[in-house]
Symmetry: C2
Subunit: 234 residues, 2 copies
């Protein structure tokens, strides 16, 4: 099958998936590049694959159409239409994000979460859409090696009764060096500018702080990664 026209319904769908709203409504998103299409297929979330070459299992697009539907300046040779999947179970180590908004930070946190075996990420209200092309690019493929769940954190956190839940405020904090690795742990990180929201903060008993020159603050993906490194499951 070769698509040559912009008015083809498949192309219309791909173009609409550039907005977060449409992605959410349809439970679909796009990945760009051979590597990510392969990762999506391995994870079983690939719905359709598109290439500028005629290949088995691919729908062929003209180069012009591929340029239109992709978000990168250079020509990508293939893209994948993928379905969103919510995690049905939780890993022993969980990363909980309360309004992390920068795509670069979200992508970097995914890479670190995978590297240190925090395999489930819980996305609270106010987080950047993880199916945004910038997040997917920054995640370097980690997006397909983790499980995600979108939750209202005020309702979700109290259900984690068998997990040790740590916030990341400096007040009431325990220095990271003194926090023991436990089997089931959840680490909550807040927004870049405002930290963890008051509502969420109210239901967290213990905070971790990173020992440092206390006139400074760390980037959220850095802070979260240092904590995950220290508490990782080897």
């Amino acid at each position: 099958m070769i698509i040559t026209s912009e008015t083809n319904p498949k192309i219309k769908l791909l173009l609409k998936l550039n907005t977060s709203k449409y992605r959410k409504e349809n439970g679909l998103f796009i990945v760009e590049g051979k590597h990510l299409v392969t990762e999506a297929r391995n994870k079983g979330v690939l719905v359709e694959a598109y290439s500028i070459e005629e290949k088995d299992d691919y729908i062929t697009l003209t180069k012009e159409l591929m340029k239109k539907v992709s978000n990168t300046d250079t020509l990508v040779t293939e893209i994948g239409l993928c379905k969103m999947v919510e995690a049905d179970s939780l890993s022993n180590k969980i990363l909980v994000l309360d309004g992390v908004q920068d795509p670069g930070n979200m992508g970097a946190l995914m890479r670190s979460a995978k590297a240190f075996n925090f395999n489930t990420i819980i996305l609270g209200v106010g987080c950047v859409d993880i199916y945004n092309d910038k997040v997917i690019r920054a995640s370097q493929g980690a997006i397909f090696k983790l499980n995600f769940r979108h939750e209202n954190l005020v309702e979700f956190l109290p259900k984690l009764t068998d997990y040790k839940v740590y916030g990341t405020n400096v007040v009431n904090g325990k220095p990271l060096d003194e926090v023991e690795r436990e089997e089931k742990m959840a680490i909550v990180l807040g927004n870049e500018g405002n930290g963890i929201s008051d509502q969420v903060n109210n239901i967290i008993n213990t905070n971790i702080y990173i020992p440092m020159d206390n006139t400074e603050s760390l980037n959220v993906s850095v802070a979260g990664s240092i904590i995950m490194y220290q508490l990782r499951q080897d």
Copy 2:
């Protein structure tokens, strides 16, 4: 003094400082917002300050001109013209960057360097211009609390005879947990896509690697920050 015209030489200078080339040639850069102007003054690098209000020690700009010379979408009330200064001495802990190109990564590394007392940053060829507005914003003021030096790393690194110099390649690496804190240490980080360049790599004897799921890799600002955290000077 109130400037109302775009053709005023001071405005022309401010507008030209939006390009890295012009900044470099003139040794000048701009910071935006009251907080950074104050930090620049405290550090002694403020050449002139501009405000939309008439105040002592400030040159007044109309709101229209301020919008033109600033890089933020919202109206900033003041900006500072600053001079670049190269470090004349080196701190005991040094961060050496071989081609870190992403402004967000550079800014995050500055915050971590300050937090963990790596107070001198050596910038090799190929690094993003640290006086770029995105880097300055991402650094959250840390840019004025550190010292910087631009160096050719192939010439510079061999001179660090009294420092323990560590690269960050996985090959010939020592796990981070086993690296001892020493008084004088230099940590070399490489480019986002390509890591440390071959030329630089050839003159580094020992590498550090971060214990993790080895199918993964970390964002460079995350990796550098974890290492600085572990080797920090308390």
